[in-house]
Structure formats: C-alpha cells, structure tokens
Amino acid sequence: MRTLRLALLLALPVLLGAGVPEASFAPEPGGFRMDDYNAPVPETLAGARVVDAAGVAEAMTAGAIVIDVLPAQRRPAAQPAGQPWLPLPRMEIPGSLWWPEVGRGGISAALDAWFQQRLTAVTGGDRDRAVVFYCKAACWMSWNAAKRAVGYGYRRVLWFPGGTEAWAEAGSTMQKGTPEAVPVGE
C-alpha cells in the first residue's frame, strides 16, 4: 500500500499536467496568444508600458482611457424554461469602457474594424492619448488587446496585467460594468 501511495505520488505531477514550468512569467510571443488565456502572462509587451494599480490610477487622473476586455457572458438561445440565467455582475475599474472579445487571439475583420473605430472615437483620433487595457489577472486577453492597439499605431498603450483582482487588492473602488455590443455574429 505504501509503495502504491508512493508510486501515485510520483505519478501525480504527470497526471496533473505538471512539467509546465513554474516560472511566474511567460515569454513574450511574436504574435497573439490564440487560446488558453487563463495562464501566466509575459512580463512585458513590446510597444506598451506595463502598469500596476497605482499606475492605472495615475494615468486615469492624467486623462487615460481605460478599457476592460473580458468576454461577456452570453445567454444561450432556447435555454429551457426554469433554468436560471444569473451571470455574475462584472465589477470593474470605475469609468472603464467594456469591450468584450477584442482580446481574443483571432478576431473577425468586422470586430477588428469595430475595435479600431471605437478607439478612434474615444481618443478623438489622437494616437498619443493614453489607453489602458485590462481584464483579469493572469489573462492573456488584455495582453492581446493592448498588442492590437499598438499595432493600430497608438503610441501610449498601457497594459495592466493585474486586472480587476489587483485593482480590488489595492483597495480601490469598483463599479458594475456594462458590456458594449460587439460584432461577434455566427
């Protein structure tokens, strides 16, 4: 029995998918992160500045636009009657815009165009306006979205990898978010 237990113990890391490096940061990939978004993120983002909660607050005071890119929950069509649909409220940084889906690895041409148009609208076309991207901690979607904005030519992109968890931990207030409708048609 003891031997069996030991064998199981030794096998455990393999069974549970370990062998994955325990490093806190992932290397920065050349392109977008395509899937498995809830995973350790890079320490950096080329062309953008990494900020913590205090950095976000400071940027906001200076007029930065803050964008939450967490995907929104979508009620499935034809959900049987009697089955509750109770998405948790999304508590986010007060004053944020919530643009779901723009942090996916691959986005449609329609969503890409929508993202660019909305950015142009909220910055008044000023590519030097500071724009902060975040979602949750250890989520690649904010990294992807920020990278996309850098690619659109925005020169003051800020990436807040700590997301809403780090914001809450800093003791800052939060507010319930409302997602904007984004084109993700089937």
């Binding site: 069974l15 049987p80 109770l86 780090a166």
Partner: protein, 283 residues
C-alpha cells in the same frame, strides 16, 4: 479504431485516473502548485452566501432548504486546472429515499448544472460527473426526499475560465463522434446492482466559446435531457445545462429491471435525439 479515437480513449482514462488520485490523496496540497492560476481568488463568505440565496430562490422559491448533514456529501478537488471538466463526486445516503438531485456551480452564469430525477431502477448512492467552473465557486448539491424536504450541502472549487474554454477537439472530429454513447458496466458479484459509467460524445457548446483559428463564437448546442432506463424502468432523467462538461460522463449505479436491456436517450438543444440500447449483462 482510428488514432483519434484511441487518443480520446486515453484522454478519458487519464482524466478518471487523475480524479482517482486527486480524491484518494486528499491531504496533498493540490492548490500549492497552482499559484499562477489562483491569483487573488479569494473567498468572501458573505458574498458567496448572498449568491447562493439568489440561485436558490430562483430555483426553489421560498421552499425551506435544510443542511443535508451526512445525507449528501460532495467530493471535488480544491483546484482543477482543466476548468471545463472539473470532476465532482456526490455521495447520497441510500436509506433516505432521495427522489432528485440538483447540482449547482453557484457562480456560473447558468448555475444549475442539472437535475437528476431518480426512477425505481436507480440505486441511489454515488454519482460522478464533470462540470464547467467559470471562476472560484461554491458547488451546491440539493436533494429532494420523498416527503418533499430539500437538503443541501456545498463545497468550494477553484478553477477559472470553464465557460469560454474552447472545445478540446477539432470541429470535424467532434462532429464525427457526435452522439456516440458508451455504457461501461461492472459485472456485479451478487447479481444485483450494476456500477456504470455513461459517456455521451457531445461538445455541449455553450455559445461562449471560440474555436481555435476561428474568429466567431460557436453557436450554442448542448444536451438538455439524458434519460436512462433498464428494462423500460427509469434509472434517471437528467435535465442538463451548459454547465455540464463537454462529452458528459456520468457514473451511477442501477438495479436491473425487466429484461435488463439498457436504453439511453439524449436530446440536445437543437432537437437532435441520440439513442442507444445495451444488452442485459449476462449472469
């Protein structure tokens, strides 16, 4: 057997093996190796209690729900990396005349995973299945007894991202195995109860996933009802939701009835019905 199927079978085996290990060694600090994934997932008991009140009242209105004590127990890993497929075991006291079991992942947008309505051929005891867990959540199991009482128990499970996690397979492969039904049975020593595991190949698309390489969301398509009968006598009817994992796999025990032929009927949300019969176990 194709390579994909072999691979799939292996994956399922590893899944169950891992579950066995996780449950067999409860003292192991599974959470300790998951620091990166667990960033700041903190429990606020008041918030969680409020959430359960909301879910409970949406389903049971004002009906009193009592603490289940030893009647219902939930076993689950503290933390599970594969959040779209979190193993849950529910142990029910067979002496309590339990007629139904509702399972909830409180913080999922569709919190009710499913409702098992037990029939005469069900041997109430242990049920295992896999659920989606979108974020740190209480998992609640609520049973109804024959006298109409509701009994509840709960435990925390940590996982993140289960609702938006893309399906593990390629679309073509998923469609090819859609609706395949397997029933593995352990031959009973005493010729009575049969320990079984039902697996239905179905992606259970919840409408919130994007497949790798695609740029649009996959439309929802999920199993709504799974019925199991033995010799025409109901083992259980399960009303299921998008919070059930893909390729639903359910372990249960039944008491053979009538001619002992097992029939499984599964219906999905776009109206496709999958049926398969399995011969009675030879004595």
């Amino acid at each position: 057997m194709t390579i994909e199927k072999r691979h799939r079978g292996l994956a399922v085996t590893v899944r169950w093996l891992a579950l066995g290990v996780a449950l067999a060694l409860p003292g192991l600090p599974l959470a300790a190796r998951a620091d990166d994934d667990e960033v700041s997932q903190k429990v606020d008991p008041v918030e969680q209690a409020e959430r359960w009140d909301l879910v409970r009242s949406a389903v049971f209105d004002n009906r009193p729900v009592q603490d289940a004590g030893d009647t219902v127990r939930i076993e689950a890993p503290d933390f599970w990396r594969e959040s779209a497929m979190v193993p849950i075991t529910i142990r029910l006291d067979p002496s309590k005349h339990i007629v139904s079991l509702s399972l909830f992942v409180d913080n999922n947008p569709a919190p009710q995973v499913g409702v098992f309505h037990f029939g005469p051929a069900m041997s109430v005891g242990e049920i295992k299945l896999f659920v989606r867990v979108n974020t740190l959540s209480l998992v609640h199991a609520v049973v109804e007894t024959a006298d109409g009482s509701l009994l509840s128990t709960a435990r925390y499970v940590k996982a993140q991202g289960g609702c938006a996690t893309p399906s593990t397979g390629q679309l073509k492969e998923i469609i090819a195995r859609l609706g395949q039904i397997q029933l593995r049975r352990e031959r009973p020593d005493d010729g009575s109860n049969v320990v079984s595991r039902l697996t239905i190949n179905h992606p259970n698309y919840n409408g919130m996933q994007m497949s790798g390489g695609s740029t649009t969301l996959i439309p929802p398509r999920y199993l709504e009802k799974i019925s199991v009968r033995s010799g025409g006598v109901t083992v259980f009817d399960l009303d299921s939701s998008i919070s059930l994992s893909e390729d639903p796999s359910i372990s249960f025990t039944y008491t053979p009835a009538g001619n002992g032929v097992m029939e499984v009927v599964a219906t999905d949300s776009i109206g496709t019905v999958f049926t398969r019969r399995f011969a009675a176990l030879a004595q």
